[in-house]
Amino acid sequence: MELFFNPFDNLVCILLGISFTVWFTLLLVFIIVPAIFGVSFGIRRLYMKTLLKIFEWATLRIERGAKEKNHLLYKPYSNAIIAREPTSLEEEIKEIRRSGSNKDLDAAPEFEMSDIFYFARRGVESIMDDEVTKRFSAEELESWNLLTRSNYNFHYISLRLTVLWGLGLLIRYGFLLPLRPLDMNLLLYSPFYRMKNFLSEKVHLMCYRICVRALTAIITYHDSENKPKNGGICVANHTSPIDVIILASDGCYAMVGQIHGGLMGVIQRSMVKACPHVWFERSEVKDRHLVAKRLSDHVEDKSKLPILIFPEGTCINNTSVMMFKKGSFEIGATVYPVAIKYDPRFGDAFWNSSKFGMVNYLLRMMSSWAIVCSVWYLPPMSREEGEDAVQFANRVKAAIARQGGLVDLLWDGGLKRGKVKDTFKEEQQKLYSKMLVGTQEDRSRS
């Protein structure tokens, strides 16, 4: 028995040894060395192109499968289910009344029972499809990217496709997943990291670049001449915690944020060692003046790095930009807007924090194909004469939305977790009351 096992054992050990060495060399050559020198081999672009071809093939197969069964495929349309006319309350109700009677409408305004149709239809329209709730869940794709989490048609999958999916699963969980945290570990314990305090900027960048390659992130930076400078505030739309890594691998920033517990806290504390960041206790966050004072102190010191802020306050699913909180726009520093757009075909970067915790999220990130995104550095903006903080914030938001091809929404990202304010309802009620009784001037005229 022993004789039988020994040579076998040896063989297994040798094989393991060889594969580990090969793996490690690959790691070194393709990930760490290029990261140090900021050079790319172009392998990742090739990887991207191959993946796209495979996804297209997969979608065609599913469509064929659906046609055979004579069914219409579920096609997710990220735009809209229903047609919504952007008419105002007044216009619509006038139209409804016009069709119901021949009375002269510009005469005394009054109530009609048909007015309720307007509210009923608007209400049901928002039940069928609304602009806000869909921003807090992952975007739906037209082609399948071989991740089960984004598939809705899987009763049309043929055998070949299942095999491909199985292979994909193996590659993602067996190869990509173990590789990535290993890189992160190397990063944290490597001597480079300790050197951070001395060599600061260069090493800082290098470490983030290693992170980026570890996640197989393929980032395209546009307009780098507009990169944020010292003494300014960098403002970007927020989709996931990875946004930070992406921006930080191309420039040094001071971060602002709450001190978190758990895994996030560990990461934050390790970042603090490298550059002076501005961290707040949860209780301090409530004190807006304190926050504003510390931020403006930091900004006035021209030697300090630009502050990175995400004014939406929460993660949005990268199809839209939601209301910017005005705090960072009140300080009066130059604002450098940055638009970040992820390509959803390779893996959804959105962190749905009400559904998934941090660990779960990281697992999903590390087992997706790649993270492909584009970063646009927009020209700097400052507050103009006669413009208040809210208008300035909206102007910056519009610029970011336009560049990234995202929908510009006025709704507050806080609606992810909180209720909408009553003031909006009161506005609607006010508008409608005007139709019933007119304003003071109307009454005095008649």
């Binding site: 047609a83 029972m113 239809r121 049901v124 329209e125 928002s126 609607q428």
Partner: protein, 195 residues
């Protein structure tokens, strides 16, 4: 795997809903996806809180009345069938449906059923009559604090006077239909799908 995978809609169910509501196959799957995304508790039914989470509905002055229309008497949960049955009232009327066999049961999106949906928004206690009180309450929801009680009262009185034909100081469903006979209900109470 997402929750959609585990509570997938069966073909037979889709056929049944198609027959009952008249929605097409793709519209049903699309609305099912919407239903599951609203269902935060992931138990296959929606509660009133699930609806109230939609900001555009929460700011609608009649939001609560509309939400109520989805829930049958005394119930707190609505399943997908019930959800579709209520939404079906807003399906546009197609030309080929107008010339249907009169003995067949009335489709959910007929003119009469659309008017019934609106009537029920006014009829708070579901007794098939809109009383002066009920009308006042609904008016109050629509105007908020911007109109005084007396003004609102006179508006309500005038409305009932014009509509009430049998003198019982309340509006029955037939009187309601009569008042609105010229209004283009088919268009105003319909939501057009994009595909």
């Amino acid at each position: 795997m997402g929750s959609r995978a585990s509570t997938l809609l069966r073909e037979e169910e889709i056929e049944e809903i198609k027959k009952e509501t008249g929605f097409s196959h793709s519209q049903i799957t699309r609305l099912y996806s919407r239903f599951t995304s609203l269902d935060k508790g992931e138990n296959g039914t929606l509660s009133r809180e699930d609806f109230q989470r939609i900001p555009e509905l929460a700011i609608n002055p009649l939001g609560d009345r509309i939400i109520n229309a989805f829930f049958p008497e005394g119930e707190d949960q609505v399943n997908f069938r019930g959800f579709m049955r209520t939404l079906a009232h807003f399906r546009p009327i197609e030309d080929n449906e107008k010339s249907r066999n009169p003995t067949a049961s009335e489709p959910l999106n007929s003119r009469t059923n659309k008017l019934l949906f609106a009537f029920r928004l006014y009829d708070l206690d579901r007794d098939d009559k809109i009383s002066r009180d009920e009308l006042l309450q609904v008016l109050r929801m629509m105007v908020g604090v911007n109109i005084s009680d007396e003004q609102l009262g006179s508006i309500a009185d005038r409305t009932i006077q014009e509509a009430d034909t049998n003198g019982d100081s309340s509006i029955s469903f037939n009187e309601f239909i009569k008042v609105l006979e010229k209004v283009d209900v088919e268009q105003k109470m319909s939501i057009r799908f994009l595909h």
